[in-house]
Symmetry: D2
Subunit: 456 residues, 4 copies
C-alpha cells in the first residue's frame, strides 16, 4: 500500500522492513495525546490563518469521531500504518477527504511524537507523584500507630543500637520525599511544548507556538528546533528518578523479606499478599516483596537502554529514537503498580513488637551508651570505647548481657562505673537521650511525624 510519504519512492516497502520499523503496536497507547495535540494544532492553524476556520472545524470534528472509535475499540490498527500519527491522519483523510490532508501543515512527525510523549509523561509523572504521596501517608500512619515499638537497629546486618520502629519507617518516608522532589523537577523539564519546530529547522508558516502551548497547558515553549527533536533528556531523567525510587523500594522489600522470615519474625505479611508453594504445603511466601525487589532489574535496564540509545548519536532526529517508548512505557507501568502494591503490603502487615524486643535481648546494643556513660564520667571517648570493648569480650565469654552484670564486674573494667549505670542503659533512656535533630528519641520521632503529616 502506498505510504503517505511515498512520492519519491519507486519500490514499495518490504514486508519484513514494515514489521521491523512499525511502532504502531507500541505507540498506539498514545492515541489520546496524539489527538489532543492535533486538535490544538488545527485550532492554532486556523487562528494563525494558515487554514480556514471551516477546515479546522472539519478536522476537529473528524478527530473527535476517531477518538471515540478508538475508545470503543472500533478502530482497527494495522501494521502498515507505521505509527499512531500516520494511522490517525490516514483515517482522518479517509473520513473527511482532502481537508484532512491539511492537518499535517507546519508540523512533522519529529515534533509530533515528542508532543505525544511529553503529554503522556506529564500525566503519568503527576500520577506517580500522587502515588508516592499515598505511600508516604501509609508510612506515616504505620509510624504513628507503632510509635511505642522498639526494634534493634542494624549496621552491617549486626545489631547496633536500639531504635524506634517508627523512626525506621520514617527513613523510607524521607527517601520518598526526595524521590518526589526529583520527579517534580523532572516534570518541569518535561512540561515544554515541542510542537512547531517541524522536522528540525522550524517551519515555513507564521505559526503561534505560544498559543498552542496555552491550549495544551504548557508553561513553556522549546527554544531551539534542532535541540527539540534530538532531546530525550526528560525521558532519561524520568528513568533515572525511577531507578532511584525502585532502588529505595528494593531496599524496603529486602527488609520485608528478611523481617518475615522465621529467623527475624519482625512482621507478618497478610495472607492476601502472599502465595503458597506448588509442592511444599507449609509455605507462605512474601512474593510481592520479592517481586518489588526484582523490579529494580527492569528499571535499571531501561535506564541503561536509553543511555545506550543516545550515546554518540548525531543530532536531530534519528530513527533509533523510536526505541525510547517501550522502556518508558514499561517503566511507567512498573513504577505505578509497584508504588501501589507496596502501600498495600505495608498497610496490611502485622508488626511483631514482642519478637523485636525478644531478638534485641542478646545484642549487647547498649555498648555505645556505656561508652558514652564513661565519657560523661570524664574519660576520653576512645579510651571508654576500648574499655567497653573489653567488657563486651567479657560478656561474650560468659554469655551474659549488660543487665546481668554486677557492679563489681563493671568495676573490674573501670572504677568510674557506679550504680547509676543500670538506669543509664535502660532501653527507654538510651532512646530518650538521642534527641538532637534526626535522632531516634520518641519525642523527636513523634514531632517529625506530626510535622510531615501537615504536608498532605
Amino acid at each position: 500500500m502506498k505510504k503517505l510519504w511515498g512520492g519519491r519512492f519507486k519500490g514499495s516497502t518490504n514486508k519484513q522492513c514494515e514489521d521491523y520499523t512499525a511502532s504502531i503496536q507500541v505507540d498506539k497507547r498514545l492515541y489520546a495525546y496524539d489527538i489532543a495535540g492535533s486538535l490544538a494544532h488545527a485550532t492554532m492553524l486556523a487562528r494563525s490563518h494558515i487554514i480556514s476556520l471551516r477546515d479546522a472545524s472539519k478536522i476537529v470534528a473528524g478527530l473527535k469521531v476517531i477518538l471515540k472509535e478508538i475508545e470503543t475499540k472500533k478502530f482497527v490498527f494495522e501494521q502498515s500504518d507505521e505509527d499512531i500519527h500516520m494511522a490517525i491522519e490516514k483515517k482522518l483523510i479517509a473520513k473527511i477527504g482532502p481537508v484532512g490532508e491539511k492537518l499535517h501543515t507546519a508540523r512533522s512527525r519529529n515534533d509530533q511524537v515528542l508532543l505525544d510523549v511529553r503529554l503522556f509523561l506529564r500525566d503519568e509523572t503527576e500520577d506517580i507523584i500522587q502515588r508516592i504521596s499515598q505511600l508516604q501517608k501509609i508510612l506515616l500512619t504505620v509510624a504513628e500507630k507503632n510509635i511505642k515499638v522498639v526494634m534493634p537497629g542494624y549496621t552491617h546486618m549486626q545489631q547496633a543500637q536500639p531504635i524506634l520502629f517508627s523512626h525506621y519507617v520514617l527513613a523510607y518516608y524521607f527517601m520518598l520525599k526526595r524521590d518526589k522532589e526529583r520527579f517534580a523537577q523532572c516534570l518541569v523539564r518535561t512540561n515544554v511544548l515541542p510542537l512547531g519546530v517541524g522536522a528540525l529547522a522550524g517551519v515555513n508558516y507564521p505559526i503561534k507556538r505560544e498559543f498552542t502551548a496555552k491550549l495544551l497547558k504548557f508553561p513553556k515553549v522549546s527554544e531551539n528546533s534542532v535541540d527539540t527533536v534530538s532531546d530525550r533528556d526528560f525521558i532519561i531523567e524520568f528513568l533515572a528518578a525511577s531507578s532511584v525510587l525502585i532502588m529505595h523500594l528494593s531496599r524496603l522489600a529486602e527488609e520485608l523479606v528478611l523481617w518475615s522470615s522465621s529467623e527475624f519474625e519482625f512482621v507478618e505479611l497478610a495472607d492476601a499478599f502472599c502465595t503458597g508453594s506448588s509442592i511444599m504445603p507449609q509455605k507462605k511466601n512474601p512474593d510481592v516483596a520479592e517481586l518489588i525487589r526484582g523490579k529494580s532489574g527492569k528499571i535499571y535496564g531501561n535506564l541503561m537502554a536509553l543511555l545506550t540509545l543516545l550515546k554518540g548519536l548525531p543530532l536531530s532526529y534519528n530513527r533509533d529514537l523510536q526505541e525510547d517508548k517501550e522502556p518508558l512505557f514499561a517503566t511507567v507501568d512498573t513504577v505505578k503498580d509497584t508504588l501501589s502494591i507496596t502501600g498495600e503490603l505495608v498497610k496490611s502487615m502485622k508488626v511483631q513488637a514482642k519478637n523485636m524486643a525478644h531478638k534485641m535481648a542478646k545484642g549487647l546494643m547498649e555498648a555505645t551508651d556505656i561508652a558514652d556513660y564513661l565519657v560523661l564520667k570524664g574519660l576520653p571517648f576512645r579510651q571508654s570505647h576500648f574499655i567497653v570493648g573489653s567488657l563486651v569480650k567479657y560478656c561474650l565469654e560468659r554469655q551474659k548481657d549488660f543487665h546481668a552484670l554486677k557492679l563489681t564486674e563493671y568495676r573490674r573494667f573501670s572504677p568510674k562505673f557506679s550504680q547509676d549505670i543500670f538506669p543509664f542503659i535502660k532501653i527507654e533512656n538510651c532512646l530518650n537521650r538521642k534527641k538532637s535533630t534526626g535522632g531516634t528519641a520518641p519525642q523527636k520521632v513523634l514531632a517529625s511525624i506530626k510535622k510531615e503529616q501537615k504536608d498532605f
Copy 2:
C-alpha cells in the same frame, strides 16, 4: 478462587496482588514446552512405578488435548491461573479428574519452569545460530561479488589505507563467527535437564532423571538441586552473547548509515528497506539500519536487568527470578528479527564502487607505502615515517596528492627516491603487497572467502 496451593491459607489472595504476581501473560508463550515437559515427566513417573501406566496414559491424553486447545486458541488463560504451569495443571484436573492431581508428584514449579525455559532457549539458540549462518553466507556472497571494489580504509574516521571492500565485509563475517561460537558454547550449558530436583532439595521418590533427560534429548542432568533452582547463568550468558552480537550489528548499522549519506555515498540502500519523511518529500531514510543500531539499547538493558536481578540474591528459588522471562523473550525476538533484516538489508544494497574510488583520491593514503618504500631503500622506519610526514605537509600546503608530485619534489625530501616510487604507490600494488595472513591482498581475501564458504 481457591489456589491449588491454598490449603494453609486463611485469607484469599488480594486482586492487586494476583495481578502483580501473575506471570501468565508472559509465560503462556512457553505452553508447548510446559506440556512437552509434563508428557516426559508423566512417562517417567510411570516407568519408575510412581504412578500407574494407566494414570500416565490418561494424563498424556489429557495434556495432548490441552495442547491442541491452546494451539487452536480455544484455551482461555485467566489472570488467576498465575502461570502457565498452574493454568495447564488446573485444566488437566478439570478435564480428567483426580488422576490429573498426580501429575505434580515429584516435581515443583521451581524445577518445572527451568525445564520450560531451557527447552525454549535451546530451540531459540539453535534458531539464532542458523540465522547467524544465514547472515554470514550473505556477507560471503557480497564479498565475493565485489572482490574488485577498493575502498578507503579508516582509522579514527580518517582515511588511512586503501583496502578491499570485500576484506571489510569479511571483518563482519569473522565477528559473527565468534558470535556463533559463543552461542554454541552457551547452548551446551543451557542443554541440561533441571527437572527432578524438586523445590530445592531433591524429591522423595525414586525418579529416574536420566530417563527424563533421554526423552527430552538433554545430554546432561543437573548435578546439585540447590544450584539447579537458583541458576540463571545460562540466561545471562545468552544475554551477554546477544549483547556482543548486537554490538557488532550496531557497528555495521552505523557504517551503513554513514555510507548511505550523501557525504559518503558508498552504498545505496534499496527503496524497499528505507522510509520517507512525513514532511520532507526528498527524504529516503535508512531507518532499518538506524533501528538495528538502536536495538543495542534494549539488549544491553536486558543484560543489565538480569545481572541486577541476581545480584546478592540468596540461593535457591526467590520470586524475583520470575522477572527473568520478559528480558529473555524480548532479547530472543529482537536478535532473531535483527539478524534476518540485517541480511536482507545488506543483500539488497547497491555498492557504489566508483564513489569509493573517487573519495579515495584526496586521502594521501599511500603515505605508509612511501614510508615503507624508504625502508626498503635502507632507512630506519622511524626516519622514513618522519620524512613522509614532511612530504605530506608539503602536499597539503600545495593541495597535491602523491601521484601529482614530480620525482624532483620527492627528492627534496630524500635522495633515496627514484622513478620506481610511482609504480610502487599504485593502489593495486599497495594492496597486493599486504599478503601476510589477515592482510588485504586480493589473493588472500579471495582465498579467505573460498575457505570460509566450505564451512556451510
Copy 3:
C-alpha cells in the same frame, strides 16, 4: 597493630583482609574535608559543653598541623590506617595525647564519611557548573562568530533542510543549560549536613547540629538518622546528571569526528588537539573528540555500579557503601577534564563554511519549502508533499537539482507553480521564513544568542 576499635577482638586483623577492606588509598583524597569537618565538630562539642574549650583548642591546633603535614607530603599514609578518618584521628592522638581521644565523641565514621563526601561533592559540583558555563560561553561565541554560515541540517544522517550553523551550535548550548539545572538541583540535595546522626540512631549528647551546619555552610540538617547513614541518592543523582551530560558531549564529539572526516570537511580541528599515527605519516586524528565520545562508557558504567551497589541493600550503613567513592571520584575527574577540553577543542576548530555550502548543493533540501509553496498556493499539505515527492524522483533520475529545473518542468507536476518558485527556494529565504520560536531564521538565532549572553 591494634585498631582503635579493637577492644572486643581476640585475633588481630588478617593482612589480606586489611588490604581488601582498606579504603585509605582512595579516600585520602578527602583529607581536607575530613579535617574541616573535624574542626567544626570540635568547635561544636566545645560550644555544647561536651568537651572543654581548652581541649577543643588543642584538637583544633593539632588538626591544623596535620593538615599542613599532608599538604606538604610529610604525612605517611599506611594501609593499616584503614581510612582517612582513622589515619587522621590516630595521628592526632599521637600528636596531642589523650585529648585527641575526645574528638570522636558524639560521632561515628558512618556520619563522618558522609560529611566528607558531601563537602567534596558540593565543591566539585560547583566547579562543574562553572565549567559548563565556560563551555556554554564558548559555544555562544562560536555561534555569534559564524552567524552567516549555513550548513545542511540532517535527520537520519540524510540532508534534510538547510540551517544556520549557529543554530546547530545553540542546540548544544541548550542541552548544557538543562545539564546545569540538573546539577544545581542535585547540589541542593547534596548540601545537607549529615554529621551528628552517629552510627544510625542519633547520639547520646546534647549536640547542636544546626551550629555545625552553620560553621560548614550547610543550609540544611538531615532529618532522620537511619536515612542519613543509608542514603547515597545524592551520589547516584550526580552520576545520572553526569551521564546525561557526557551523553550530550558524546553526541557533539561524534559530530566533530564526522565533520573532520574528508567526506564531510565541515570543520578542521587544530593540530594542537590532534595526534598522529605511529605508522601512517599522513594521519591527523581527532583523538580528543574520540576520547570524549568514549568517556561515556566510563560514566554510564559508574552510574550502573552505584545503582547495583544499592539494589536490595537493607538500611543503615553496610560496608558495601565504601565502594561509592571510586566511581564518584573517577566521574568528577572525567567530567571536569572533558568539559574543559571540549571547550578548547571547539574554540580552536576552524569552521569550513565553503565546504558546507558545497556539500549542500546536491541535497534537494528545498523540497519541504516547495511543498509549503504549493500549500500557500492552495493545495492541502499531504497532496503537495506527494507532488514534490514525484518531483524529487524526477530530479534524481536526471541528476538535477531544483534550481536547475525550468518552470515548464515544474509545471509538469502542478499548474500551481509559477515564476516565484525560484526566489522562494533561495536558501536565505528558506531560512528567513523559519521564524517562529525555536526556528532557524537568522534574526531569531541572533536574538537567541543575545538573550542567552545576558545570563553570564
Copy 4:
C-alpha cells in the same frame, strides 16, 4: 617536544590535550608484555630478512636493558610519552641509536596494543582459573568436613526443606565450575596473535606471523586485519564472565552476612576477617563479605562501560578504544583479590551446626514429606498437598510442630495416617529419601564430593 609521529604537524600538541589523551599512567602496567612482544617482533623481522640479524640483536639487547630498568624503577615515565609503546620505543632509540628506529617496521600501535593486552589477559585469565580452582577446593573441604550438618533450606527466604549444609556448599562449587568453563572458553578466543595486521590493512613486508605466534605461544593467528584492530570481544567476554562470577560471589556474600547475623547465627566469621565500629564497642562486622557483595557494582559497571564504548563504533581502530584498559585492569584486580579472600573467609568461618538445628525446629519443613507420605498411601499429590496445608494451618494455630502432634490429630485430616508417619518425618529419613541425581541425600552428597575432588 616532538612526537615520533609528528612529521606532518605544524603546531605542537596542547598540554591539556596531551594529558587528556595520554594513557601512559594506565598502560605502563603492560610494560613486560610490550617488551616481550617487541622481542618476538624483532626476532621475526630478522628471520624474515626485513632487518639484519645484527640489528635485531642490538634491539633485543636494548629492550632487555629497558626491561631491567623498569623493573628496578630506574625508568621514568613521562606524560609526553603518550603510551607504553612510545615510551619504550623512544627510550630504545635514545639507547641504541638509529637501529632502534627499525623496531616499528611492519607494525602499528593498533596491533601492538592488542598484542600487549592479549598477552596480559592470557596470563591473568589463567591465574583467575587457578584461583577459582583454589576456592573450589576450599568449598569441597568445607563440605566434606561438615558432611553431617543439617540446615534449613530456604525458598523465598522461608524455611522450605531440610538439606545438608554440604549440599548447599556444593551449590556454590558447581556455579564456580561453570565460571571456570566460561573463562577457559574466553581464553581460547583471547589466545590469538593480533600482531602483523598493521594499522588495519596488513603490512607491506613479507612477515611471518605464524613464526611470531610460535615465539609467543599463540596457537592461532588472527584472520582479518580490519577485524583484528577493531575487535574487543575478548575483553567484553572476559568482563561478562567476571560479572557472572562476581554475581555468584555476591550471593554467597549475602548469605554469609545473613548467616553471621544474630538472627541466624549459622556461622561465625573469624575475628581476623571482621572489623569493628568506631563508635559501637560491641560490633563485629562481616566487612569482607559486605565488600565482596558490593564489588558486583564495579564489575557490572565495567561490563556496561565496554559495551557502551563499542556501541555503534565504525570499524577499525578509533581512539575510543583506549578506554578499554581501565575497566579491564580494575576487573582483573578485583576478581583476583575477591576470589582469594572469599576462600580465606570461608575457610576460617565456624559452622554453627547446633544453631542450624535449633532454628529448624519451628519451620514445619517436613510438610512436603508428609504430603509425599499420603501419596505413597494412595492419594493424588494435589489432594495430599491440600490436606497437609490444612494440617499446617492447624499446627500454626496451636503453635505446634509435626513431631508434637498425636496420631489422632493427624487422622482428623486423613484416615491414611498411621503410626509410620513418625519415623517417616525424621530429618535423617527426609534427607535419605532424596537420592536421585542432584538430591540432598547424604550418600549422594558424599559421592559428589568424592567425584569432584578427583578433578584436582
